[in-house]
């Protein structure tokens, strides 16, 4: 189990080379200056990263979710924040690819695959985070249009994106009353809050999306009325794998840096790497990451195969990989001593970036909720 084919190795290698050349050298600067490098995203799209698992007829790379996990891990070694944005973009494109009709696919996906148009996923609201089914943004039918009103909170890419998939209520309270709409950037009535000041993920914007009488043609409805929550949750299964892979990549980078650092740093008359206490710490770190990787790959294969336990496996992988990734990165910081705390060494940034992976795409508490539901059979 789990040996890569030549193609898979080559795909991961191409993503890693891209990260080494175009992400890693700039990651600290982008973090410090809060720069969202859209030009670099478009360059990534030349490799096929704009539509990793989008069908080929609209310009996608049509790879598996397993291969996507390899790609996101490799990308995140350069910058977890950019890798994670590329994941969100792919998640929105995937929702259109799978739930959109032919007209919708051919209208939006070609430019998303080249990343000329970026995507944002708009589910969370100020009053509805973990309990997303309680969302209040309304979409009211008006002739051939829907009129959207509400506020979406914490939207990654907002302001820079062109394609917003907005989950809004068209019917009864609860999950069955929610529909998914594609709202294009620049539509009258759509505006954005200020770029949030945050702990990490500084290389991508996070803003509110404010919808005031935004008129969207019925042709922008994905699937049917009432399908929105199911579509949003389906997107998140794969999104969770990608986020887990981003944690793995960031932590792997921090670990690799630590091995090098301890090999150079001298204290008490010897290289720190000679200390068995530290060697054992490194052994634990690499073991945690390998365990996370194994679970993540298993979940990705379940998703590719459409296995019955996909949802639980994706939740387990997300919970485990994002926790392990954060712990390993934090330990890497500790092993760098005071230098780990300096921006220049690139480790503290990874710690800050990985912290949010335990919160978004469903908090790790919500992952436990999903897992325990599967276990106890409770609804």
């Amino acid at each position: 189990m789990f040996t890569l084919t030549d193609d898979q190795r080559a795909i991961a290698e191409a993503a890693r080379e891209f990260a080494d050349e175009h992400l890693a050298p700039h990651a600290v600067t982008w973090d410090q200056t809060k720069h969202f490098p859209v030009d670099v995203l478009r360059k990534a799209a030349e490799l096929g990263m704009g539509g990793i698992y989008i069908r080929e007829d609209v310009g996608g790379s049509e790879l598996s979710r397993f291969e996507a996990a390899l790609i996101f891990e490799a990308l995140a070694t350069g910058c977890p924040s950019i890798a994670a944005y590329i994941s969100i973009h792919n998640m929105t494109a995937w929702m259109i690819d799978v739930f959109g009709d032919e007209a919708q696919r051919s209208r939006w996906l070609p430019r998303m695959c080249t990343m000329e148009d970026l995507g944002s996923y708009c589910l969370t609201e100020p009053e509805a985070g973990s309990d997303a089914a309680a969302l209040r943004t309304r979409a009211d039918r008006d002739g051939d249009d829907y009129v959207l009103n509400g506020v979406k909170q914490f939207i990654s890419g907002a302001g820079a994106s062109q394609i917003y998939i907005v989950m809004a209520r068209t019917g009864e309270p609860g999950p069955r009353g929610i529909s998914a709409f594609v709202v294009e950037g620049g539509t009258d009535g759509m505006s954005f809050g200020p770029n949030e000041v945050k702990m990490g993920w500084n290389a991508q914007p996070t803003r509110q999306v404010i919808l005031e009488n935004v008129c969207v043609p019925a042709a922008n409805l994905l699937g049917g009325e009432g399908d929105g929550f199911r579509i949003a949750m389906r997107g998140l299964n794969g999104g969770r794998l990608n986020i887990g892979a981003c944690s793995l990549g960031g932590a792997q980078f921090a670990l690799d840096r630590t091995v090098t650092y301890l090999g150079e740093r001298e204290a008490f008359g010897a290289k720190l790497l000679k200390s068995q206490a530290l060697q054992f710490k490194l052994a634990d770190m690499v073991t945690e990451l390998e365990a996370a990787r194994t679970l993540l790959w298993r979940a990705a294969m379940a998703l590719d195969a459409g296995a019955a336990d996909t949802v639980e496996l994706c939740a387990m992988a997300k919970r485990f990989a994002t926790d392990a990734g954060f712990e390993v990165a934090n330990s890497a910081l500790q092993l760098h001593g005071g230098y780990g705390y300096l921006a220049e060494y690139g480790i503290e940034k990874v710690v800050r970036d990985l912290r949010v992976h335990q919160i978004l795409e469903g908090t790790n508490e919500i992952m436990r909720l999903i897992i325990s539901r599967g276990l106890t059979g409770a609804a």
Partner: protein, 259 residues
């Protein structure tokens, strides 16, 4: 246009490279084989020429069977097909016999333009383009940082200390490129998946019309007589600045006769 791009697999410069003690040739098993860096620029230029003028890009690699990895990479970048010249009899060939083997192969497969990197990171002789052109009896346009083709006319630009040379010739021709010429593309995921379906023709020396006595260690005109590992780098000198750092640095430079 029939574009042939020569691509070499070399040991990764990031790893320790060694010579074999038995026959004093490069130990190709000791290090990972990667595509020679300048060859990526050659492949990119070949693809750009194809995009501008149409035709087909063929990768030509002479090297051991594990060089298929490198061929695959060039195909993933977008080349159409490949010819792999592989034969135990070629082991130990020097620059001159390599140029003979490559020229014979090029005569067999045909070409309008041959593009190659101006040197490889392993042997670094930088001779192949000139030798190939001579053996094929076609013009050589070396060290190009720009290539223009118009019908059968070809012109290149070569950077010099005083500006640049413009060299013109007519096709068929051999062109060698430097890294200033372009920015090699990454293989796309689609390109990687497509690469394995592209034809790779394997040729032994007989099929390529190569005389066994002129290649390999026996056919080489140059011989490695002896070699030694480079001495480890000595620690540098640190001048501590106690208000007189400038003087200390100047004295050091003077002692080494730099100033």
């Amino acid at each position: 246009m029939n574009i042939v791009v020569c691509v070499k697999q070399v040991p990764d410069t990031a790893t320790e490279r060694k010579l074999r003690s038995d026959d004093k040739t490069l130990d190709r098993d000791a290090a990972d084989g990667v595509i020679n860096e300048l060859c990526e620029y050659a492949v990119e230029e070949a693809l750009l020429l194809k995009e501008a003028h149409g035709g087909e890009v063929t990768v030509l690699t002479m090297g051991p069977s594990k060089a298929t990895d490198t061929i695959r990479k060039a195909l993933a970048m977008g080349a159409d097909k490949a010819v792999h010249l592989v034969d135990d009899a070629l082991h130990g060939s020097d620059a001159l016999s390599t140029s003979y083997a490559m020229a014979q192969t090029l005569k067999t497969i045909g070409f309008d333009v041959v593009i190659l990197g101006s040197e490889s990171t392993d042997a670094r002789t930088g001779l192949l383009a000139a030798m190939l052109a001579e053996r094929l009896g076609v013009p050589q346009l070396t060290q190009a940082n720009k290539v223009d083709i118009d019908g059968t006319a070809i012109a290149i630009q070569r950077l010099t200390d005083y500006g640049h040379d413009k060299v013109e010739a007519s096709l068929p021709a051999v062109v060698s490129v430097v890294e200033k010429i372009n920015e090699p593309r990454y293989p796309s995921f689609k390109g990687i998946m497509a690469a394995k379906k592209k034809p790779v023709q394997t040729l032994g020396i007989a099929e390529a019309g190569i005389d066994a006595s002129q290649v390999g260690l026996a056919g080489a005109w140059s011989e490695v007589v002896d070699f030694a590992a480079a001495p480890p780098r000595a620690a540098g000198t640190i001048v501590t600045d106690q208000g007189d750092g400038g003087t200390g640095a100047a004295e050091f430079l003077a002692s080494k006769k730099f100033i």
